[in-house]
């Protein structure tokens, strides 16, 4: 089932109320060609389940990994992804753009 913005934040609330650890990742900036606009969201639970998207699938895996950290520590993180990253071989945007993603815990 395709998730809408509404489903994404409602799920974040429902997951948290069900006692799960939850993080919300939000695209806060984009440079050049970026697959998802600023404000796009991905929500992640402490088992790595996720809903929504912050890119075309290019960096979601890395964001989920970082989100598990954020759920654990409680401290928000600001992540940047782009082809210019030293991690480009692992995660990056094939479209050549860059994005900044803010990851915060729901507490």
């Amino acid at each position: 089932m395709l998730s809408t913005d509404e489903d994404i934040l409602n799920s974040a609330e429902a997951w948290r109320r069900a006692g799960k650890g939850v993080a919300v990742a939000t695209v806060v900036d984009t440079w050049g060609s970026a697959p998802r606009p600023v404000g796009s969201r991905l929500v992640i639970d402490d088992e790595g389940h996720f809903l929504g998207s912050v890119s075309g699938g290019c960096v979601e895996g890395a964001v989920v990994t970082e989100a598990l950290d954020v759920i654990e520590s409680g401290a928000p993180k600001l992540l940047e992804f782009g082809v210019a990253d030293e991690t480009a071989w692992r995660v990056g945007l094939s479209c050549g753009g860059r994005i900044a993603v803010y990851v915060e815990k729901v507490d």
Binding site: L2, N10, T26, V28, V38, G39
Partner: protein, 235 residues
């Protein structure tokens, strides 16, 4: 994000009210500003501009940069006419994430089994539309082919801020509709808001294809500036 803030944000969306979440991404400080509270907020100008554009982004404030996450209500497609085209339009609009309401006073058409996934109201537009609130996040589509039903709906839509008004019918049908709306006191500029013949020119034949062309036109009304829409139509 505190759970209480998230719950409030979800409640605002459910009530079709806009809101902005203001975040300091350096510290994690965060607050929710509801549409009704924007005017009295210290960041009123920035928040107002963000709400009008509907776009999230980072702004400079006296306290440093803040990320404004704008949440506008879900777009709603209001179909007047529980007809064959609406049966295709409803699921297409749902996939795009929009709310859908189908309205038709003819009880033979407005049945839940013809529209399993969306609210169907067997009411006249004059009764239902004031209650439903045709707001600027609403696309209004008149599809009954019956002036007795379409006209009062269109009159209501033209008096509202809805971002799209479309009406099914041939050029001849629409010319007669224009005459009736003029007689009802609408200006040419008002009447020019109505997209007719409805839908993008993709050669649609089947009800589902017509629904697709309507949904494409609604999406263009939402996403393209008027100049770009004209350029696209002329291409």
């Amino acid at each position: 994000m505190r759970l209480a803030l998230l719950a409030e944000l979800n409640a605002e969306r459910a009530a079709r009210r806009a809101a902005v979440v203001v975040t300091d991404t350096a510290t994690g400080d965060q607050r929710l500003v509801k549409e009704a509270d924007v005017a009295a907020d210290p960041l009123a100008d920035l928040l107002g501009a963000a709400l009008r554009s509907g776009k999230s982004g980072t702004v400079d404030t006296p306290d440093g940069p803040r990320f404004l996450a704008v949440q506008t209500p879900p777009l709603r497609v209001l179909c007047l006419g529980a007809v064959h085209i609406s049966q295709a339009l409803a699921p297409i609009a749902r996939v795009l994430g929009h709310d859908v309401i189908v309205l038709d006073p003819r009880t033979a058409f407005a049945t839940p089994d013809r529209f399993p996934d969306v609210p169907v109201l067997a009411e006249w537009p004059d009764d239902a539309l004031p209650r439903l609130g045709v707001d600027r996040y609403t696309a209004f589509v008149a599809l009954t082919h019956d002036p007795k039903i379409d006209d009062p709906g269109l009159i209501h839509a033209l008096k509202s801020e809805c971002f799209y008004v479309g009406a099914l019918g041939s050029r001849k049908t629409h010319a007669r509709r224009v005459e009736r709306l003029q007689a009802a006191g609408f200006s040419d500029a008002d009447i020019a808001r109505i997209r007719a013949p409805i839908g993008l020119p993709i050669g649609a034949v089947s009800p589902a294809e017509i629904a697709l062309s309507i949904m494409g036109e609604i999406t263009a009304a939402l996403r393209l500036s008027p100049e770009k829409r004209q350029a696209a139509a002329a291409a």
